[in-house]
Symmetry: D2
Subunit: 352 residues, 4 copies
């Protein structure tokens, strides 16, 4: 084990940026957050108060130029992900980029291309998109059990990402740039699907339907607040994804992998913690209220394992191409959601 710490710069200190910065700064012993950048003054103020010893920049490029880094964590607004990642790749830095690389597949693919090229001169460089569920202990246990093969091959994959109802108008505003519910929410389920069915699984058909039940402004952005997708694979596998923006009790992200002789379930009995109350309403428990409450530990593990993979020159935990494929599938589903059309592919992945 190398005693040395990985020198990291963090780009973006918004909601997710703050969390990533703290996870690397305070909870990843082998990482050293050297610098952070954000154009937002309030966020820089927060950094001054919370990231002791970390140099704060208003400009990402300036940070890259002035600091001697080994890795960059890109946690800025989605629109900046690809560009900031590309710049860090160019410098030969390792990159952990918040998901998605881009809501545009072509742009996302261009990052993979740049990384592939950069590997020639920097063979140890790691570039990874942060799909947090792959670091969650429950998903990992499910994956290990499947991989062990005790239950036969996986046949049906069912997964959902369902957010707590928020009536503030947030989702409507957010939909303008999110890429749509399949690119924003279901992208996690798609990533898991690729992980469980194999990165090389080939889609035969997909289609989606959806409704706008409570957030009526979503229609204007071609989005919906509830949607269901069906995906069919060559080789005899099917998947069903559900996404929602109106869960009444809390965040409910569930997954089932139904194999030939057993099935693996994650979070089918959601709970915030180990507390339960009995009163005149019956027996009740609470759910996590948002994604981070459910997956906080997974994000810390992600920070620690990304750091270890850089320091020890081990493969990054998630292949970069997979994260682009996930966006491509999300986009195709979003198109089907709006058009109603079922889309068929040949075995080379080309639309029929």
């Amino acid at each position: 084990m190398s005693p040395q710490q990985l020198r990291i710069g963090v780009a973006g200190l918004g909601r997710m940026g703050k969390r990533h910065a703290m996870n690397f700064h305070a909870f990843t012993p082998r990482a050293h957050v050297v610098a952070a950048s954000t154009p937002d003054e309030t966020e820089r103020k927060w950094a001054a108060d919370n990231l002791e010893g970390v140099k704060i920049y208003a400009d990402y490029d300036e940070m890259l130029e002035k600091e001697d880094l080994q890795a960059v964590v890109v946690a800025s607004v989605t629109a900046a992900h690809a560009e900031q990642t590309l710049k860090a790749i160019e410098k030969g830095y390792h990159v952990l980029c918040e998901k998605p690389l881009s809501i545009d597949v072509q742009i996302a693919q261009s990052v993979v291309k740049a990384y592939t090229k950069s590997l020639q001169s920097h063979p140890s460089q790691k570039v990874m998109c942060g799909f947090s569920r792959r670091f969650d202990s429950s998903y990992r246990e499910a994956h290990e059990r499947m991989a062990r093969g005790d239950h036969g091959k996986p046949v049906v994959f069912r997964s959902q990402t369902a957010d707590l109802l928020d009536t503030s108008g947030f989702f409507v505003e957010y939909a303008k740039t999110s890429g749509g519910i399949f690119v924003d929410c279901s992208i996690h389920d798609i990533d898991l699907m690729l992980w469980f069915f194999g990165e090389d699984c080939k889609i035969k058909s997909l289609q989606a339907v959806g409704v706008t039940a409570v957030h009526h402004g979503l229609e204007a952005s071609g989005d919906r607040d509830n949607a269901i997708a069906t995906i069919e694979f060559y080789g005899g596998r099917i998947a069903s994804l559900y996404c929602s923006r109106m869960m009444a009790a809390g965040q409910e992200d569930t997954t089932e992998i139904i194999c030939e002789r057993g099935s693996l379930r994650v979070n089918m009995q959601g709970r915030k913690n180990h507390f339960e109350i009995h009163d005149s309403l019956g027996v009740r428990r609470e759910l996590p209220q948002h994604y981070y409450e459910r997956f906080r530990e997974a994000f810390v593990t992600e920070a620690q394992e990304f750091t270890a993979s850089c320091l020890e020159d081990k493969p990054a935990p998630i292949p970069l191409q997979s994260s682009v494929t996930a966006v491509a599938i999300g986009q195709a589903l979003q198109r089907s959601l709006v058009s109603g059309e079922k889309i068929f592919f040949d075995e080379n992945g080309l639309k029929i």
Copy 2:
């Protein structure tokens, strides 16, 4: 309350016929099973041993002719359902017919037509198809809560019928006459969907995909062992149905009705009874092994309520047309399952 008992004849004493016969004979105080018919000698032997005081016939027509009945319970093979029901309708008898009326929509619809006509001369006659889940206390509680409107309108309906894996070849043999997995299994979920979304809900599109993972002989009958359907309704509602013939732990029939401000769940934590075991494998419980183990009580309630509706001339618990619509939807899904095509309907229910 009328002190008199309903005089009943039971047609068919196979697996379900025996259960219906016993439920009316032994557990429905207001019913009197007068006679039963079956062409099968072993079944008649069973009846002689178990249905004390009940006259046993080898021929259904002879039973109808000789016995003074008020109601007939049709529980014979599916292929005989429609014909036997029609004959009983003609005699002016009440009929409880096991689901489905027929796996052919035209035939099923002809029963409704005959019943409608018969009502002119027998205005108190009840004809009902036995969809047992509507008599299950958990589904009823879900329906009452939805109807009360506390949680807003239902938006998404998700439901599954999943049978225990049976490697004896039963499912392959059965598929030859079952009408397919959507007509045989999902028909229950479709019936619930009509109950929860309203008998008058109008389908906008539907499609299905499926695989044959373990029962390879199913392909020959145009069937699959796992299938997923998506259904879209006019007015902003969507549904997802899953059916399977390979559950490893037991029968797993679950339903979720996601409303605008709450969701109603049935059987999401399946269990056979209140027993749980802790040992070196962890904490475990068992599931019901088959449909009847899960819904036995509902079948008894069905017998009792059908009997009461006849004796007291109250509306039958389930409208007959609804059961034909369910078959029509099941058949359309089965077609989509095989063809891969997504089917669109206009608001009059015509294919586009």
Copy 3:
């Protein structure tokens, strides 16, 4: 299987009497309720409306004298249990008596004595006290697993009977004749303890503590609304019992049998049915509201199995002496509850 039906008279048509009468009348095909008796006019009116074909008496003795019965179900007030049972025993009838035989051990033991004597002239006579939990499928599964020995010997028995809070004053009134919370509630747990640890297990010590938290009138009857007992057995076994009259969510009767290599749990995740609701309060389910809602099916099984044991001359499902021992233990605990003293016994069951 005998085609003949057991001719039964029911004594008492109060809350439990009505249930027993209906269970034998409507749901036990091999039983024929010939007659029923109750001094209460309203109850006789109920019987006239609900027990078709059953002869109704105001006087128990008259029923015994005039009817040709084979068995009597004693479901009258507790104070009459022993006397009515004794009279039926004298006539050579089978008896199913609601628990307890008596709240006085001497009286209860006198019934056993009379039964033992009667067996000399009526060797097929069955007399049994109705401890319903022994007929519950979950407890039976637990007992079978224990008996199979897979988990080693049972070491610790923990069990509770906990009633829904009732602020009407019922419990205070009831306590005047109930024999106290250990004789009335925990008697079920004590019966299970004897079943799981063996009818011949020998108590080494016992003690109890309790409080009166909400039903303050209980103190006047030497009773409490919450109590905890500890019982120690010769041979290395211990038990803990909890009883309560103030559960907020519903009836909560749970049992754990902790064996050397595994533990068996009944009802640790209580639920009324398979329905669950998700709303802004979280995820919740309801509990049964009273004992009968939880154990209704067990009472029906009890009726059926008692009937079968009489008709087929098989041993009664529960040995009568065990039911007297249960009362003796309940009374000793009730004494300890009031005095605070810990009571020690030698191996012959004598107080030290």
Copy 4:
């Protein structure tokens, strides 16, 4: 918030010492582990590899003498707790001592006395015994709900600490110095009892029974592998504690606080994570295998909150006297466990 870090020395690097050291070193941003001491060479080797920048001592006294510390974490063998804590108190340092202070009440009380005296010259000094469950989010939620008073006063407290069966002989060896199962395991439940019932609650009586079912060597140390305690309080409250060394499925620490109008439950449906498996054995989940797997997060929170209380001169999260009272209760229960006697106290806490 103070930007400064608390300078900490850790005493002891055994099983718990390593965990505490890492929690302060890597996961408590406001703490700076300056030094650590252990007489064990293997542990010092571990420290050299894992505690980068931390000075390692073989001798505790030498560490105290040479290092400029502000706080000491005592995580050595139980026998050294009191002495090392006393030495740190003398230096005016803050102390977090692993539970228990001592298995001897007199010694434990002497630490409180020394601390009380030291406070005169060091009014900001914090000395706390680490009862980790008070930092667990589920217990905290239960406590908040109780404190809010929505459910009325707490009446019955039931709690258990139950370890996974370990057949290596560990428990027998450990029992020689552990103080017994009530002092070692139930001490946590006792601590919670004091927290939920109030630090000033007064015991009226207590008694315990136990058995040695699988670890027969325990008898020699006056210990048992399963034990049940009952505690009665002045003012109308009762408690039942269960402890075990032979759970087959894993660590099972559960607590119920039954209030007048509702009850609060922690961990009644134990689970290791959110994963569940369905196979031919049924539906199953795993439990944590040991105490730390269940409470790891609570230990990190403990480290962070102890650090914050020192830096910000806020009251320590747990009053020191309470931890001595817990040992006193544990010892009394252990005495009753061996003697079988029920012990009564007057309102001044004196034995009657």
